[in-house]
């Protein structure tokens, strides 16, 4: 058994100073293995994005440990983070591809940049960019275009391709399909499913249980900064344990049947509001 690609143990994150100090994450522990997709779900303000940002070194943690690919990054300073990111071990995809892609760079430049930084030759980098563009089912015709000239769904696939070019061990995806319409959402989810075979670990963050259920091996539920439930996707959805998870599952709109009655939902809401 190999060590997990991502090990988060007992992580605390605080925002603000002194009297305005608020705890955003409390004692969060989560492991993600190679080739595994972990879905992280929770409501607005539950700390999903904070966890993602902590793992990427974008917010400092105030306690606990983060180990990425065997490297303890907990006490890293900005310079060490930059070195780690440059190696391309961790990559990320955010909700809004317009903001994660440089609007003035062509798709080709966006894709080859992380490779050029690593010292790969331009010719080799372009060849790799083409390969990965193909992996996300986009044609090489897009290479000379800028993000403004392609559709939102295509942009998000470019963002996924950009995350893939350095062949990372871990990709953190923060609401990657939330801004997409259904056809594009399905396409991006398919691509993420296909990635599983390549051994990359995925942390897939979403507020939408539906898209998480579609691709995650395991689901982790964050509620008010704490991880209240982690388990195999089917188990979490069929036998949710924590009241919040139960409410979440019973609130999710489904086509043919609501999985809980109105009365059950009200009961759970009352339970949580205490």
């Amino acid at each position: 058994m190999t060590a997990p690609v991502l090990q988060v143990s007992d992580l605390d994150v605080h925002y603000g100073l002194r009297r305005r100090r608020r705890q955003a994450l409390q004692g969060v522990s989560l492991d993600v293995s190679a080739g595994e997709t972990v879905g992280l779900i929770g409501e607005t303000g539950s700390g999903k994005s904070t966890l993602a940002r902590a793992v990427l070194g974008l917010v400092p943690s105030s306690g606990g440990r983060i180990v990425i690919d065997g490297e303890d990054v907990s006490g890293y300073r900005e310079r060490q983070w930059r070195r780690l990111r440059r190696r391309g071990v961790v990559q990320y995809v955010f909700q809004d591809p317009l903001r994660s892609l440089d609007p003035d760079l062509t798709i080709e430049d966006s894709l080859v940049e992380p490779l050029l930084i690593q010292g790969v030759s331009r010719r080799e980098a372009v060849a790799r960019a083409r390969t990965f563009l193909d992996r996300v089912h986009l044609s090489a015709d897009l290479l000379p275009k800028v993000p403004g000239e392609i559709s939102g769904g295509q942009r998000q696939r470019v963002a996924v391709a950009r995350a893939l070019v350095t062949e990372p061990r871990l990709i953190v995806l923060d609401e990657p399909v939330s801004a997409l319409d259904s056809a594009n959402r399905v396409q991006v989810l398919e691509i993420l499913k296909e990635l599983r075979g390549s051994g990359v670990a995925l942390v897939f963050i979403s507020h939408d249980l539906g898209s998480v259920a579609g691709i995650a091996d395991r689901i982790a539920v964050l509620y008010q900064g704490e991880l209240v439930e982690v388990g195999a996707a089917a188990a979490v959805i069929n036998e949710p344990d924590h009241p919040y998870t139960r409410l979440l599952v019973s609130s999710a709109p489904t086509l043919r049947a609501a999985s809980a009655t109105r009365a059950e939902r009200e009961e759970l809401r009352a339970l949580l509001s205490v």
Partner: protein
Amino acid sequence: MTLLSEKPAAVRPAPTVDPVLSLRDVRIGNPHTGAEIVHGVSLELTPGKVVGVVGESGSGKTLTCRAALGILPANLAVTSGSIEIAGADISTLGSREWTALRGSTISAVFQDPASYLNPSIQVGPQVAEVLRVKKGLKRREARHRAIELLQAVHLRQPELVYSQYPHELSGGMLQRILIAAACAADPQVLIADEATTALDVTVQAEILDLLADLRDSTGLALVVVSHDLAVVAQLCEEVLVMRDGAVVEHGPTSQVLYRPEHDYTRLLIDEHEQYGLHRFVKGKNVPEEQAS
């Protein structure tokens, strides 16, 4: 929930009841260039009926709603077909008649609740204003009634909420306040255009439950617009699926879900079946929830 209106609780109306909103082959376009954006939408809404409109951004669902509310963008107009609100053809309405109609006959809530409230005025007085203008209530009566309305949309501590500012409240709470304001003058039709899209799933379910309550207690007719077929399926008896300005499917919800005719509808359903909870709950055979 009896607070919202003095109207008797509507029993499911017989089909002979006059429609409160009817659209007949409504086409919307730019009359100067001749470009057409919405290519013929028809729907009929009787009291207590809930019709869903599903489609992606750019499918024309919002424009259709805006046409029914008389708030189309300046360069667009209804180029053919007709819209009637409670029997009145809207093409004959002047701005004074529109003002009388909006709020008291037809009302609407939209996606981003915060942008429809004045950030520097407490939320309660913004609801009370509707009552003072539309129903002619005195200041004190309006306050009293507004608090009742806040309670009717299941806001806890309505007196406290009354005197809070928009930034102190969550998105779900703001959307409830807008629903309270939209229903303050006892409209017959409420258009909810992506009203739950920006909310958490659990909050979305609360708002959908609330809309079902309002329908049951006041006979309010609803047009629920969403990009999510499941949201519409939960609440509506009838569904229109729109794509690129055209209605590609229109029928009772069960028919659209079980026997979709258009590829696009099938795509929407497939997405839910492959990536929704169905993967897991399909075998559970839970009884269908009734809104009553």
